[in-house]
Amino acid sequence: MKKVRDNFLFRMWLMLSALIVLALVGFIIGYIVLNGMKSISLDFLLSHPKGIPLGAEGGILPAIVGSLLLTLIACASASVLALATAVYVSFYCQSRQLETVVHVIVQCMAGVPSIVVGLFGYTFLVAKLNLGRSLLSAGLTLGVMIFPFIEVRAEKSLREFNRAILQSSYALGVSKVYTLLKLVLPQCKADIVAAVTLAGGFAMGAAAPIILTGAVIFAPIPRSLSSPVMALPFHLYILTGEGISLEKAYATALVLMVLIFAINIVSIALTFRRKEVGR
């Protein structure tokens, strides 16, 4: 009865692995939410860090604002460039070789670990270009990090557009640009926005690239692009690493996760939204 036993073991394996995965998700979320809820309050969200060492009391308002600004800069800088590249590769590029070169470069960049991107940002943006540890340096570094992510998804979406419909549009004597703006982009808009928001989620959660390029232990809400910023992931790292306050750390982790999930939910909603016909 080897067969029956094998089948049984096989099923056990599948059930067990799925159970482990679901248990892990449940545990991680439950752990952060339950512990974080205890020390979160409106005051925590809306006030500056206080106490000795700094952060032991008070709130995380500058970190929340800082993280949002960093994400915004990263998304803005990366998405313009990534979209242009995706459009170029899928609509204008005539040579297969050039296409492969672009893909290899983008893949290489996707393979560069975030800390090495941070290292680049530190040396080039902060030191050589003299931008200092600032909102701008950190935002751009994050932008470099999420560029490949956006490019790959945007290109995939553009390429999935029905070729026959493109041909029909060109056959009317209409230009590529008009076709792109009136037919293709309206169709791919949801996918592209979803890719950008998802990338924004990554940028917001990333600590490694900003340790050296702009995130600091304490700063007020940034006034300009050249001021240093607080960021949620870095703040969480400092609170735990330096053993400042466990309660505040739980609460910070919860805020960070809620923000990222909010972004992800927007992205998922966009992906699933039926593409309505415009009038």
Binding site: D6, S17, A18, V25, G111, P113, T123, V177, G205, P233
Partner: protein
């Protein structure tokens, strides 16, 4: 009317594309250049085969074999733990879960991918490391194993989604004819779907390995960061954590600074090889 606009738009797209490609190439060359300076002082082979890392001593003491081994060890532990669980879940999803439920479960798994690595590190430190110390009675819970387990959780969603996509496709192809033969579903999964998706399992492994080796924050918080030969229950150091920890201390332009770039380059080359393998695997999967 549209003619002028067309031309401007087209040129804009081209210029922006050139900008982004130049930026990417520049980043890559920049890192390369900053590392090469170090290799003028210390030969490459010496750098990757020596076992001591002490930036306060002479240049000869900057070598990263232990750190490379640490990086590989932690990542391999992660893969070994994550692969069976990931493949099992993907099979279950492809074969047994249908419709809405599948979308929901995929969403839940994607949640894992969305959690920032600092949060993983935080939980790792408070739960895993503490568990090792209190329950298992180790003197220090910060270890290769802690890093490996944490990384395993982090790479799970990547493994599951890569495997699941191709398994689902294969399942849809073969399920009708297999059902027609009256064969049980688990037999189909075991005899056809699993062997047929070995390529995508390989691709998932490579992808996960790349993720694991490049991960910084989570790993850094639970491995103890000591550049000693790694043991499963001992502390170790990985290249990303080395860079993250020491970059702030190294003066720009010093040998220490260039050594950090050099280790970044070594990591990138390892990842590059891994990513190129993945690129070609993907191409082959599409060709199939």
């Amino acid at each position: 009317m549209y003619r002028v606009f067309d031309r401007v738009f087209t040129q804009l797209v081209k210029i922006l594309t050139i900008c982004s490609l130049l930026t990417l190439v520049f980043v890559i060359i920049f890192i390369f250049k900053e590392s090469v300076v170090f290799f003028k002082a210390v030969p490459v082979l010496r750098f990757i085969s020596g076992r001591s890392w002490n930036p306060l001593l002479a240049a000869d003491n900057l070598s990263i074999l232990n750190i490379i081994l640490g990086t590989l060890y932690v990542s391999l532990v992660a893969i070994v733990l994550a692969l069976p669980i990931g493949v099992g879940s993907a099979l279950l999803l492809a074969g047994y879960v249908k419709g809405q439920l599948r979308v929901v479960i995929r969403g839940i798994i994607d949640v894992l991918a969305g959690i920032p690595s600092v949060v993983y590190g935080f939980i790792g430190l408070l739960v895993l490391v503490k568990f090792f110390e209190t329950t298992l009675g180790l003197s220090s819970g910060e270890s290769v194993l802690a890093g490996g387990i944490l990384l395993a959780v982090m790479v799970l969603p990547y493994i599951i989604s890569t495997c699941h996509e191709s398994m689902e496709k294969i399942y849809r192809e073969h399920a009708p004819s297999s059902q027609a033969l009256g064969v049980s579903r688990s037999y189909l999964l075991r005899k056809i779907i699993l062997p047929e998706s070995r390529r995508s399992i390989l691709a998932a492994t490579v992808l996960a390995l790349g993720r694991a080796m490049g991960e910084t924050m989570a790993v850094m918080m639970v491995i103890g960061n000591a550049p000693i030969p790694p043991r499963l229950f001992g502390k170790c150091q990985t290249i990303p954590s080395l860079i993250a920890l020491e970059m702030g201390m190294a003066e720009v332009g010093s040998l220490h600074y260039h050594a950090l770039f050099a280790s970044g380059l070594v990591l990138m080359l390892m990842l590059l090889v891994i990513n190129l393998i993945l690129y070609f695997l993907k191409k082959n999967i599409l060709l199939q």
